[in-house]
Amino acid sequence: MDKKDLLKAIGEVDQDLVEQAAPKGSRSRRTQRWIPAAVAAACMLLGVLAISGGWFKRETEPEGGMMVSKVSIDYGEAKKIAEESESTAPAPAPVLESTTAPSSIKNELTAETTALAETQAPAILYQKDGITVQEGRGGSSGSRMEAELAYLTEQELFTQPLVIRAVLTDYKPLVITQEYSIFSDNKIYAALMSFEPISVLHGELPPGQETVKVFANYYTNTSLEDLSLSLRTAGKGREGIIMLHPMEEWHPEYMTQLADYVPGDNQRFAIWEMPGGGLSYDKHAFIGLEKSWTLDQAEAYARQLIGDKTEAPADFIFSFSYRSYGLVPEDTYMRSFDSASGLYSVKGTAHMEMEYGAENLETRVRVEKEILDKIYRALLRLKDMPEMLSDGDNAGGHETTRIEISWFAEGGSRRVLFSGSDNGMDRSDVNRLTMTLFELQQYLEKCTDMQGWQEKLMAMGDKERRARSEEIVAALEAAFAEQYGPGGKPEYFRAAEISDGGYLEIWLFPWSKENQKEIQEMLPEGYRTGMLFGWGDPADSPSIQYDHRMSLALHGTVQKQEGRRKIIDWESLGEGSPEKEIRLGYLYEDGSRTEGYSISFEEDKEEWTPFASLRMVIRGQEKDLESGLITGRQDLEFAWYCCVCRGFRPVTQEEKEAYGEPLAWIYAERDEVESSIFLVMDNGRLLRSSGTWPERPMPTDPSVDAVTALETWGEEIWLQLLATGLWYCEGRGEQTELGTPGLKWR
């Protein structure tokens, strides 16, 4: 058995378990957006919609109604073979290309880009103050999948400060590295792009400007790719509609270099014309577009939306209800709104009423005219949707969603009813419906009355939740006392903790379904829900203080040593074996006794250099620490710059002689603003510098010159800790052939 067998075995576990664990990212993107919205608000809206019968006609009529969005695929030679074959044998498997481009065009583009990549080595474009900007390569591993974006409606996308139809005349992928970042994610994937405008759809171009240069930040690969358009094929000459979305200001020094560029976040804000015809874009953002359209049609559509000043008729009234079901039909959550009365209500399962109070789950909302107009325009999108929209045959199936929207205006009325599930499918009707609901939600959330109500509700939820958690804890203590006598409790019960948000977490060791059930059954009816159960000691909870133990969890590859370099494995932390304890009682921090220290080395597998992250609990608060072994010249310089040199000036020869050479460092963030760095010096001393640092120190930021203390410590315990860490890292350094400086440990 090896680790690959194990990984494969995990892949074969019961599908039920796998489905239960499915991350949000593996659900449909629509769902992904809904979940935070539903949770956060305990509130908002929804709806659905529907249709009508030709009420509002638009000049540009999207081709709708397809069951599944079309993807055009080039089957290449395989298709010809299939067509030519008259045999009854199974047709050859199609060769699926990942772009809609005909293979000949695609190949040309790919060949062109490949040639470029081969002849042009990545070049440093800009390097200063710890920032290196380097040419990237198309299709690099810089793709990011988990972008969390604010939702913008289609109309908002088309009314960005500058929206142009343009030809891409130059494209240069960039990788920006912040060398001084001590955080793992120090790379930014970006691009410099030049466009030649053909027409301006929204905003204004400076007079005489013939080229628009864009510095597109973040996620550039993914955004340009848009599932089908690879960066490698985003060659010059490609035409598209580009929406420039403002980006937060970049480093001032760097922006100087980009004076000619408009900084923008490129994610989703581009519609590209495909070489083989059709469009490429994020269909979740542009739900009214059709992939099969031409760019001219897309532009007409955009102009229509940009110029859409349609106002809601005076008699416009709409209402909707959105009901989602949990795993059991009675577990429901419903939001509804009626513009005639302004009544907005949230009805949910018992826990919602428990947390917020049933009487607080509805409010009256005054919808401003502007919002009403937007809602009206959003509903127009549903003009050609069938009145009844069902997610297939629901007989015997579990319905997860039921949406109803009714709409009255200018003497006519409409109703759209959807029932079924809107998860997992790319049906254009369902997509349109749910995205429209999102728009409604966005607009309603902007109502002043709604905002105030939500804030009140959330605060109320926290308070109610905490009160209830306290009641459960009291009930539990009473049950324990009754069953086990005063102060008694089951052996497996370790702690009950209430978190900041008022959530109750109960720790059992060992945890078992039986133990959990026993605890729940000790509680009176009505108190058996609304708590989380955890497996382990209270120390498992980040919010609970460890005792005076320090452990070095160095994994199985490290042999235990005798004497002062004793290593305690992680498991023994919970056992509290006295001979494995190292007292930290005499370690002081700012004059206060640091009884809450607990430090453990934890190998960070995500780094391919010797690197350890530390976990520290100081006075009950968990802190994440980072440490590293100085394994080469660059790290050594880094340590000096970050830790020893006040204000990040270069270290002087005198200081080097005075302090010695650092062998390893530990970065300890004590609280939100203050941090310390400990350096193990080759003369056996421990050097500590501490002060107020910004979260991400920028060497050129004047506020960073804030190292306020520099002192050497000789505490045996620290030396022991760090010596052991060094010894460990050195061993790992040999394994990874990274090399280490001479270890002069005494």
Binding site: K3, L6, V18, K79, A91, G420, M425, E606
Partner: protein, 193 residues
């Protein structure tokens, strides 16, 4: 599975049965992005992920019929995971790739039973069954965290975000679960000799 998605799956399978190339298009439209995302997490390379996705469609083309997997997505996802892991082995041999697959593999080293010398897996339970049994006994949160890391190959940060935990707490949970898995796999009754 909802009846609606079942309906779609049935339509797709019908297209496969008819040997219609539209089957691939519909499968791609319905599930392509999910499959690609899974492969990308494991392999860290978009190009490789796209190739794995194509492998999945090819496998579906070859296996349907006679196979008629309903629901379709879990079946496709399992194939995708297997193919991506196969490719991961190739990557490892070529010392390339930067996906979560390599990291997950390294981490699972911790869960391997020690002292295998002279003993043999008894065969009373397959390794898959033993792992399944282990996971079923875990509390829901640990179960979810473990599978999101080692089935779906989410990064530690992503798992933390999914579960409302700190990165550090997530790593501790994973570490402990790996240790528990090791203890579980070392149970005497699973071994002979």
């Amino acid at each position: 599975m909802t009846s609606g998605s079942r309906n779609i799956d049935e339509q797709i399978i019908a297209l496969f049965r008819e040997r219609s190339e539209e089957a691939i298009a519909q499968t791609s439209s319905a599930y392509g992005s999910l499959l690609r995302a899974l492969a990308l997490r494991i392999l860290g390379s978009r190009e490789d992920a796209e190739e794995v996705e194509q492998d999945v469609y090819l496998a579906a083309w070859n296996q349907i019929p006679p196979a008629e997997p309903l629901p379709l997505l879990p079946w496709l996802r399992t194939i995708c995971r297997r193919r991506a892991l196969d490719r991961l082995e190739e990557q490892t041999a070529q010392k390339r790739g930067g996906g979560q697959g390599h990291l997950a593999l390294e981490e699972l080293e911790e869960s391997l039973p020690t002292g295998e010398d002279g003993r043999h897996w008894a065969g009373r339970l397959s390794l898959e069954e033993a792992v399944s049994a282990f996971l079923k006994e875990l509390p829901e949160r640990e179960q979810r965290v473990f599978l999101q890391r080692y089935w779906y190959f989410l990064s530690v940060e992503e798992v933390a975000r999914e579960n409302g935990l700190t990165r550090s707490h997530t790593k501790v949970l994973l570490h402990r679960t790996r240790k528990k898995l090791k203890a579980h796999l070392e149970r005497e009754d699973l071994w002979d000799g």
